[in-house]
Symmetry: none
Subunit: 360 residues, 2 copies
Amino acid sequence: MATSQGNLINSIRIVGSGLIGTSIGLALAARGVMVEMQDRDPNAQKLAQDLMACAIAPDPELVLFAVPVSALSEVVKREFALNPASKFIDVASVKTKPQLEVSTIQGATERFLASHPMAGREVGGAASARADLFEGRAWVYCPSYSDGTSVDSDVVEAGLWLINLLGAKAISMTAGEHDAAVALVSHLPQIVSSLLAAQLQKGRGAELELAGAGLRDTTRIAASDPALWKEVIASNASEILPLLINLQNDLGSLIESIEDPTRVASLISAGNVGRALIPGKHGGKARDYYMLPVVIEDKPGQLAALFEECAKAEVNVEDLTIEHSPGQFTGLITLALSANDADVLQKHLEKSGWNVHVPR
Amino acid sequence: MATSQGNLINSIRIVGSGLIGTSIGLALAARGVMVEMQDRDPNAQKLAQDLMACAIAPDPELVLFAVPVSALSEVVKREFALNPASKFIDVASVKTKPQLEVSTIQGATERFLASHPMAGREVGGAASARADLFEGRAWVYCPSYSDGTSVDSDVVEAGLWLINLLGAKAISMTAGEHDAAVALVSHLPQIVSSLLAAQLQKGRGAELELAGAGLRDTTRIAASDPALWKEVIASNASEILPLLINLQNDLGSLIESIEDPTRVASLISAGNVGRALIPGKHGGKARDYYMLPVVIEDKPGQLAALFEECAKAEVNVEDLTIEHSPGQFTGLITLALSANDADVLQKHLEKSGWNVHVPR
């Protein structure tokens, strides 16, 4: 059973019952927190509240805003007037504008923590919510304002409690640092994906039948909600614009040199470099393993025998992939190992008669 | 056991032991075809041939070229001289250039079917090959040349046999139609993804820590091989160029109106429309496995012990993933199994005291 034992915050009001608000509510309700869901759309509010299946406290200890940037100022004013002793947190996609607006509300500034979980889906609404939406994701919080004002420490503490409870990784930034970062890693990809998908309108049916996984992946987020994104992009235009101009310059250069394989290769290589800068799942760069291919017979017992050899050779297998398909009589196991372990294991397996190949 | 009964072609030579060539070889070997793998890199050739685990015929009925466009002309000449009665098929990413080149080889024209499977991975090489790479994918073939010359019907028939055997969907096009289509659905996404990923070089470490699934998906193919792509793009520049100029125009308009939410919403909506034009997978049969999570201690010997249990329970592990990170003392192994095997193994592991969860 869920229990509220040990929770720093025992009651929360979540204003905004979309994907993000409802996902946060689900995660908290599962841990015994009393969650009240609100929304200007009564249907969305009812669905979200039903999903919580929990009691509601009249004066919540924490009020969380999961509304569009344009609605934020109004709901913060309302909630602060209702319950000025509470703690306030928002989760909007930009941070400079919310901080600016809240700093005009007398007394609210220090009680308001601007934050942004780096999670979402291309589908929205309470029905798409998932309690595990934030696990392993970065979650930015802004403990101070650009004029040097600090958020009260009990409010910051409540924010960190929330972030940790939801399995996210708390990252402290100023609002300006945040907005520059999301312009690069979130708003630019959204614009590029939408621009690319928009070109498909010129395609004929037979052409689009040739679409593969590459096109599907690059345009997945082009299915995102225009109403949500028009606000996000317009609110962060000053950070996005220089990135678009850089992109325009690079595109212009490519157009000039499209028939020159060397220049084209430079672009693809630059993309390789940029892609490799994206950290792996657990934060921290993708670890550099050697991949050792071993061809085995595709039948039960072969994997066990292979791992017995790994144990004998005293190597630590960091990851592996198995490639085979029904009706195929061999399987390819690729073991990921440290450079030294790959070397040790290759020699060991060769001696023992395995069909092992050169690590790479 | 595999049998060659009912196969139209009983022996094939595959020139080029990369991802595509080796994947085709695996699928054919599994159906009892004698497959000879060739490559200018002896290591790649040996690994690919070992994976086939089958006999080699001296005079193959079919020769398949899975080499870069720039190497095609030379290998077609060589193979045609060796065995002019054979049938020839290529699988290069552009089709106008291969047809043009082959039409200069006296006598080869009618024996050569230009074709292109719409499948690939951002990782290359024989070690990444999979026999099921083509299942449910479109596979274009070009039964005639731009001057009206037809490919011999027995060669077209062999091509269709191959395409169907590999589970792909045969689509007849002229080389020109093909090259226009792949410019839109394959080459443009590659360029856009590379351009986007290249912008990340300007990001600082903390900014990239905020990267989420949207950035990862849009830049996945930016990890592709520059040596391969510089040729593909340069060989199809005349089809790609007008698409890039359209993109440039749309980007220019957006830059002018970035602070106007209505214009931004129009772009995102146009992206929605384009995205929705992409057809679903062609009855792609994603294999339906059950995933069985097992939590283990992250130390050598644990995997061996686990696979020993799998062997004892007489289940066949189809795939697995390992999730762990440095400083973490447990690892999560997720085993992919048939419904029945997942059930059998879960009960077996529970009885033996393993930390096993419910398959899903």
